[in-house]
Structures are given as C-alpha cells and as structure tokens.
Symmetry: C2
Subunit: 254 residues, 2 copies
DNA sequence: TGAATAGTGTCTATAAGACAATATCCC
DNA sequence: GGGATATTGTCTTATAGACACTATTCA
C-alpha cells in the first residue's frame, strides 16, 4: 500500500531537468544487501560463503544476501540476512559500500548495499559447521597495507573459489576497511570471545593486517588504551606459563 | 509501470534460495544520489545548497541531488548532478554512505547514495556566485575530532539553514570522513588551487580539523611526505616576506 | 631441569611540539 | 628601520622498536 501512490514527484529545476519528475516512468533498480561476514581461524581471515542454487551463477559461491523488503531499514535487512543465512545475531555490523555497476548482474539493474559483520571464531566455526551449502573460505590478500583490490578466496585445501558477481571486490573492500579502522576503532575484540589473552589479541591484529606486529609496543599500547580490563582469570591448558585473560571495556574515555 | 506490480512477496529462503529469480515482484524503492560539495572560504568549510521549489520541503535548502538513470553508473550520476546543478566538472568525488531510513522521504521509499566532492575555493566561489537559487553555506561543526553527528549550516550573516530530509546528517558524515582521511590521503590539495603556500595548506587542514595544528611539525611532515613539489614561484602581493609556492605531486612513493 | 611463553625494565631511534634565530619582503 | 611572515636549526618530550632479564607453568 505504501507503494501504491508512489509518484516521486521529485523536484524539477530549471537549468537542470531533474529526472525525478516522472520517476514513476523510470526503471527502478532492484535493491539488495550483501554481507561480508568475517572471522578468523588458524591465522587467516575467513568469510562466510553460500552456494548459489539458481542462475545467474548457479553453483558458484556468493556472499549471503537478499532483497530489501518494503519498509525495512537497510541495516535491518543486513541483520536479517545474517540470521536467515548463518543463524547469527547481535554481531558488529556496519555499512561498507554500495555497488551499482550497470552490468554487475546480467539479469537486470541490481544495486547492492554491502555490509560487513564481525564474529568471534568460536561462534563462527560452530555455525559454519552447522549450516549446509555453506563454507568458511580463507581470505588471501595479495596486497599490503591499505592498497586495496580484490582478494582470493580459498578452501583449506587451497582450492580457489570463484565468487559470483562482484563479491570478491566486496570482500577486498571489507579487508581494506578493517585494516584502516583497526588502529582507532575497537574492532579487534569483535573477532574474539568474551575473554582473551594479549597474545590472542595481537594475533588477531596480525591476521587483519597481514603482517607481524611488535609484541612489546603492542602490549604497551593496548594496556595504555584503557580499553582492556583484566578478568583476573588465567589461561588454562597450555604447556607454558599461562597469560592473564582480559575483556574489552567499553568505557574507554579517550 | 515498474511499480505497478509491487507485491512484496519477500523471499523465502531455506538454505539459500536467492530471491532474485522473482525480483520483478518486489517493490522497488526509488534511488537517488545526493552530493555534499565541499570547499573552504574565510576559514570555514562550505557546502553547496540548492533551494527546493517543490514539496516535500518546498522552499527549504537541500543538497544537490537527482534520480539515478537507467544504465547509469552511480558515480556518473553524482558527476552529472555536479555538472547540472553547479556547473563543475573534474572534481574529486567519492562515495560517502547510503541513506535508506524508511521514512526519510515522506512520499515513498527513497534510498539515497550520498557522495562528497571537493572543490578549490576559487572555482567554488565563482560558480556559487553564478548559479541562482544556490548558496554556499557555512558548515558549523559542534563536535570535536571524529566524534561525528549532525552539523549546522549557516549563512555568513549567521542565519541558520534547516536542511530538507536527512541532508544535515550527510554533511556531518562528510566532515567526519574528511577529518578521518586527512592524515593519510591527499585530500587537502583538492581544496586548493593548482599552486599554494605551506601556510595555505596548513589553514586548509585547520579548517577541516576544526583546530589549530602545529606549524613546525606540519611543515616538516608535508615536506618529508614527498607529495609536494616546489614550483620555484614566490607568493606575490603580500606585505611581508613571500612564501614559496608548491604544487601537489602525484608520484608519492610511500 | 628444560621448554616455552608471560611479563618487566631499559636503551635507542624517530617524530612531534616548543622555541630561538635569521631571512626577506613591503611599508 | 619597523612590521610581518618565511625558513632553518636546536632542544625537549612522547612513542615505537629492540633487547635483556626474570617469572611461571607443564612435561
């Protein structure tokens, strides 16, 4: 019913003939969301892929996605996709970029608003093992720093996945965004369980950045940042001196 | 005609039935681009506003924008808007964020992909004075650093503009993005003419950041960055020792 | 006891901020 | 010369990287 009287008489204006005046006559692109769901495992970034069952690109792997429903906020659509395709809720979720190349979908004009989500590896791997027609592909980043560009998705065996549409670009952009935000936003914690050791946190940073980081200064920076809170609990089941576990502390008064 | 058969049969998805097969039955929102065109003048950030002539929000000020045309790439739509509404071409242009709150337009679901563009103050003020029903509003940022949030738009007299739709949020987000990118991306140059002095560059940075920056270290950093190339030409028409003019040098091999 | 990592303290190199001194232009 | 800003150089301070050393756990 909302759409019934849809007649976007969007302002006309003189020098520039605003093409909205007759919006009803315009082709309206379809709108989707795609979600780059990221986690880590065995020292590599992983992303959640779904096997397509229908054309176009039937049988190829793709990011979880779906059409935006009437009246549905964009981020809600992304959250819905995460729930329906991965069974995950409450994750860190942020808008990434909107992809709209005219030929990105061979059927019709489809514009996709890409989001990325972060999940701790424990929840991620449990779910990944539970949902059929799904895989947790390893992200191989062929560039350093924040150069950007597409990435390769592989299985643990090394087989390469060829993603549908422009989804490899979406994953690449998500990695670039992660690398850029890591220094000033608390995103490393989103990839870890509730409590973790400083070494685990460092390894997450190294995985995201794709390079080793200096242990000493990393510890100093993190402890000085005020974002960490000691749990008082020590690591167990390791054959060396156990490390103190920390948790992320929201009240970071920069 | 597209909207005629609007029947939000939203997707069914079991394991992963891509809802595209029936895309034709979905309500398709209208898609627009809005452009935050930014420049500087008299030590303040400015943005280009257009007076709306039709409802909704008739007579209020808004960002230049327009509907995306069939087959038109998103960035091309933003560039077209800049040409048609401001007569400016060849500017730095980058996607900012996609706004899609269900009620952001009272008429119908309209999703807008916001871009921001940067223009040097000379071109900007010439054009601003030449296009009717347009103003170069002063951006007042009520927050520090990259806190983010809406901003206030005022005239030089101090009168406050109340922007249509969620356009004030778009401007605020553009400022936040600018502040965030300033340190590692060559965007300060985009707000300056071909050649400029170090003090002018510093003032642009101060205007973007909304705070003074240390002169000594700013000079050192800029000269050491390899992004600047001396023109050999000295500033003229100043009643003090003239400064050397520089130009932006693309070949910055970090 | 030995292997392995946790955690602490110290030294050095680098970059930012502060400040002083000199240079150059126009009035 | 006086006023104003440019440009250079030095000193201080904060932070990152490197390294040495001690601590603690389990096999």
């Amino acid at each position: 019913m909302t759409s019934r009287k849809t007649r976007p008489t969007h302002a006309p204006r003189s020098p520039a003939p605003w093409p909205g005046a007759e919006a009803g006559r315009f082709e309206r692109p379809s709108l989707t969301v795609d979600v780059v769901l990221i986690s880590t495992a065995h020292g590599a970034l992983r992303t959640w892929l779904v096997r397509r069952s229908e054309p176009p690109h039937a049988d190829r792997w793709a990011l979880p996605g779906g059409f935006i429903q009437p009246g549905e906020p964009l981020e809600a659509a992304a959250a819905r996709v995460l729930t329906s395709k991965a069974g995950l809720t409450g994750l860190f979720l942020e808008q990434l970029y909107t992809f709209g190349a005219p030929d990105r979908d061979p059927r019709a004009r489809v514009i996709s608003i890409a989001y990325y989500a972060l999940c701790d590896f424990a929840r991620f791997s449990v779910r990944a093992g539970a949902v059929p027609e799904t895989t947790a592909a390893r992200i191989e980043v062929p560039w350093e720093g924040e150069t950007g560009g597409p990435v390769e998705l592989t299985s643990d065996g090394g087989a390469r996945f060829s993603l549908a549409f422009d989804h490899a670009d979406m994953v690449g952009l998500a990695v670039k965004r992660l690398r850029g935000k890591l220094d000033y936003a608390p995103i490393g914690f989103q990839l870890l369980p509730e409590s973790f050791t400083l070494l685990e946190l460092q390894q997450v940073h190294e995985t995201i950045l794709g390079r080793p980081v200096n242990k000493d200064s990393f510890r100093r920076r993190m402890l000085a940042s005020g974002q960490l809170e000691a749990t008082g609990v020590w690591q167990a089941d390791v054959e060396h001196r156990p490390a103190l576990r920390y948790r992320f502390s929201r009240r970071s008064a920069t």
